[in-house]
């Protein structure tokens, strides 16, 4: 068995790969021994007026582009254009994604700022510039791949890949004439002059079998068919929709029972005695008014605080106490009307007492500690003081 395979492999390996050549001449090549000779030859070929010729050397020979009168390469400009595209694309991408579409505060930084965008912008510039340079250099500028160029598989190309320097004049040149070209090549010192014919299968029809349009189209069709089939089977036959990482995450949704914790709750109750942020315990909670003697209003009196107090008072207090604290409820008797806030008793109370009533409640009035924040309660106290003073204004208040 193994022997059979081995024999088969050997047979494949030894199969003659040489393609048959036609009678049509493609080019005439000549070999030279040293870089100086080839430079000289290239210069003379240009001078003789040949345009369709090439020099093949095992490595780039310096100064050859001048000798061959080649135009300056455009590779650099390509890189610049694509690199610039990369820069723009990266900035637009980051700017839109993190600055507009999905704004998140991270470390107190702006949604979009230049410094942290630089690294990715740089990388994409280099990525696009580099890929375009290499890719376009090969395909656009050098017209590769071209694996069945008639020059291949000739003595000429094999020698120039190793240690000889070759010059080839193509038959398509307008001054081409077999005898003159051969004579010319000899005159400039060329050795082993070789006539190179086209392959039987012309290279202009199939430049590169694997990059042939049909082959690539076939690949594309196979890819699409496989992908669509696989997707269809997964999705509609096996009911395993692919690409659902984002939909199906391992987390507990609202109203769902946790299978992880024995009590079925997914969130853990806080440890006993846990205090939430900003919470300050109220030490007079549930105690009578008389004990509240040491509380003073921490807020300054200014327009801002009073405006705040007014807003809160009108929202929470005025339904029963009336907009001016006169006890004129808007509730049409659904609750007993509270006493006026302008009585002597309330006016002589310390700020702390009023605060205590709001916080703790009194008689029918319940505690407002949950609805109104601590600072807002103190603002309300200021506002009540302002109302009281307004109703009992003295002459000097008018100044």
């Amino acid at each position: 068995m193994i022997g059979k395979i081995k024999n088969k492999l050997k047979e494949v390996n030894n199969r003659n790969l040489e393609q048959k050549r036609s009678d049509e001449l493609y080019a005439i090549g000549a070999l030279f021994d040293t870089p100086d000779e080839i430079m000289d030859a290239a210069g003379k070929t240009t001078e003789a007026g040949y345009e369709e010729f090439d020099v093949n050397t095992p490595y780039p020979v310096h100064g050859m582009d001048q000798a061959m009168k080649l135009k300056n390469t455009m590779v650099g400009k390509t890189t610049f254009i694509f690199g610039f595209l990369g820069t723009t694309a990266a900035l637009l991408m980051i700017g839109w994604m993190s600055g507009i579409d999905y704004q998140n505060i991270i470390g107190g930084k702006p949604f979009f700022a230049i410094p942290p965008a630089i690294p990715i912008t740089f990388e994409l510039t280099v990525l696009l510039g580099g890929l375009a340079t290499a890719g376009l250099m090969l395909t656009l500028f050098n017209r590769l791949p071209w694996i069945n160029n008639p020059l291949h598989d000739t003595n000429y190309i094999k020698q120039t890949a190793s240690d000889k320097f070759g010059l080839v004049i193509y038959a398509k040149d307008k001054n081409f004439n077999i005898a003159t070209v051969e004579g010319f090549l000899q005159s400039i010192g060329g050795k082993s002059i070789e006539k190179i014919n086209f392959f039987e299968v012309r290279e202009d029809r199939v430049r590169t079998p694997i990059f042939d349009f049909k082959f690539i189209a076939l690949l594309a069709v196979v890819t699409v068919v496989t992908a669509v089939t696989a997707y269809g089977i997964l999705r509609y036959v096996l009911f395993l929709p692919p690409f659902d990482f984002m939909w199906k995450q391992e987390k507990v949704l609202p109203q769902e029972k946790s299978t992880f914790f024995a009590d079925g709750f997914s969130m853990r109750p806080p440890v006993e005695g846990t205090v939430s942020r900003g919470y300050i315990p109220y030490e007079y909670q549930g105690l009578p008014d008389s004990v509240v003697t040491l509380l003073a209003n921490p807020l300054p009196i200014n327009a801002e605080v009073l405006a705040k107090g007014k807003q809160r008072f009108n929202t929470y207090c005025s339904p029963c106490h009336g907009y001016y604290g006169e006890g004129d409820s808007r509730l049409r008797g659904q609750f007993p009307n509270p006493p006026s806030l302008h009585t002597d008793k309330v006016r002589q109370w310390a700020d702390g007492n009023i605060y205590h009533v709001i916080t703790n409640g009194q008689n029918v009035m319940s505690s407002y500690a949950k609805q109104i924040s601590r600072d807002d309660r103190w603002a309300i106290v200021h506002y009540i003081r302002a109302l009281q003073r307004a109703l009992n204004a003295k002459d000097e208040d008018l100044n």
Binding site: M64, T73, P119, D163, M246
Partner: protein, 456 residues
């Protein structure tokens, strides 16, 4: 002038002007001949290490990241240390192939291809660690900004995301650079081969035919790729350093990190390239292509970069004191004299003190001592990352959360496995592709270029 050649001659790459044909033979020999026994022994050892790593990896995936030594204080352990270490190893390749190319250091030619290949393998090795460290490698796709059902985007302010872009760009561009360099060599191999090999090489060489019309574009593109790779290689380790330095953690947040990491990366990369080359030139009898002169040059670069790293160590220490910032001061005292002092001093001596021996020419030209020193460099640079990661974390602002980090067998086996993976790749590469750039080597041998008298 009689003394002209003493100080001006570039390193003779091929002594006594071997013919181009002989160069072909030497370079293609490892590829064309059947593997030797030495090669089989080497690959057995490296794949054994790789297998141990694979077992550890399976263990990690089966049981989870709990099998690693990380704890809640030292949340970043071997995973990131190995990642940074291998990324660093990768930097020498691009340095040799791109930066030295731009500086027209012709001696680089003999080692460039090989170093580039090492870059590619090192970056792959490095890439393994961020992917596995989550314990769920299939979720790595989240790192790419792609339109998704929840319409959320990745965090572009995170240096870890910059890493994703940097490392993948680095890999891609290095790979392109390396492949572009390979095309003419594969073409040369195609013209020597027959049978199936020839077919494969024909396709891989894209039909390259050494045309000077092509060389013109090719050379410019190669120069531009070198020009792009140079800032790229700086950016990669810079961004890796940002992973640490943008934090406010004392010991990580220091502005010298970017150039310091780059210098360290080049240092460790050269250490690794030297280690492998010393072995390789022996195994494949390439002593006359990778000469002692090459190794001496590499020693000089090791000395230079090692000293740069030393400068950064001292600068960090001085600034910690100078800053007047007590947390910063504590971290550095803890590094040098705390429970991980042994790691710190291993790092310091291997990276800064021992390489100073390269000041002496005798040591630069003594293979066994050089071998010892470059291995110490590898050790030292691994410990550098260990010191940065672990000692900065293990005693943070809150003494109640102080802890020690102890690696588990899984950690150690994964580290071993990463070496196994890397060396297996290197050994396979040497067997399959020409490990020295033929076209470039020929171009810089003596008398390879025309004398400029005719055309200037």
């Amino acid at each position: 002038m009689s003394f002209d050649s003493t100080y001006t001659r570039e390193l003779p790459l091929v002594p006594e002007r071997s013919s181009f044909k002989e160069i072909d033979d030497v370079i293609f020999r490892p590829v064309e001949e059947a593997p030797t026994r030495k090669w089989f022994i080497a690959i057995t050892i490296s794949s054994l290490a790789l297998m141990i790593g694979a077992v550890a990896l399976a263990n990690t995936f089966y049981f989870g990241i709990g099998t690693w030594g990380n704890n809640s204080t030292v949340g970043w352990g071997f995973g990131i240390v190995n990642f940074v270490f291998w990324i660093g190893i990768g930097h020498a390749g691009t340095l040799i192939s791109a930066i030295l190319y731009l500086f027209r250091q012709r001696w680089r030619t003999g080692i460039a291809r090989f170093a580039e290949a090492m870059t590619i393998f090192a970056v792959i090795t490095a890439g393994i660690f961020p992917v596995i460290h989550t314990g769920r490698p299939w979720l790595a796709a989240y790192l790419i900004p792609y339109p998704n059902q929840n319409s959320i985007w990745v965090n572009f302010n995170s240096p870890l995301l910059w890493d994703v872009f940097a490392v993948s760009t680095y890999f891609t561009i290095s790979f392109v650079f390396w492949s572009v360099g390979l095309i003419p060599d594969i073409a040369a191999m195609r013209d020597r081969a027959s049978g199936i090999k020839k077919r494969i090489y024909t396709v891989l060489s894209l039909g390259w035919r050494n045309s000077n019309r092509h060389w013109q574009h090719y050379e410019r593109a190669y120069l531009i790729l070198a020009g792009l790779s140079t800032p790229l290689v700086l950016s990669v380790h810079t961004i890796v350093s940002f992973d640490f330095a943008v934090a406010i953690l004392p010991g990580w947040h220091t502005t010298i990190f970017p150039p310091y990491f780059v210098a360290g990366a080049i240092f460790s990369g050269f250490g690794m390239v030297a280690t492998v080359l010393i072995i390789l030139r022996k195994v494949y009898d390439m002593e006359h292509i990778i000469t002692l002169d090459h190794l001496e040059k590499m020693c000089k670069i090791l000395l230079a970069t090692g000293s740069m790293v030393g400068y950064a160590y001292c600068m960090e220490f001085f600034m910690a004191w100078y800053s007047g910032y007590i947390f910063e001061q504590f971290v550095f005292i803890n590094r040098a004299f705390g429970p991980y002092a042994w790691a710190y001093w291993t790092m310091f001596s291997c990276n800064v003190i021992f390489p100073q021996l390269f000041w002496f020419k005798k040591i630069r030209r003594n293979i066994p001592i050089m071998m010892l020193l470059v291995i110490l460099v590898n050790v030292g640079m691994w410990f550098e990352r260990f010191v940065i990661v672990v000692t900065s974390l293990h005693r943070d602002f809150l003494p109640s959360s102080w802890a020690m980090f102890y690696p588990t067998w899984t950690d150690l086996a994964l580290l071993l496995g990463s070496f196994g993976f890397f060396f297996t790749c290197v050994l396979l590469f040497v067997k399959v592709l020409p490990s020295i750039s033929l076209a470039e080597l020929k171009a810089v041998t003596e008398n390879a270029q025309p004398t400029h008298k005719h055309h200037h």
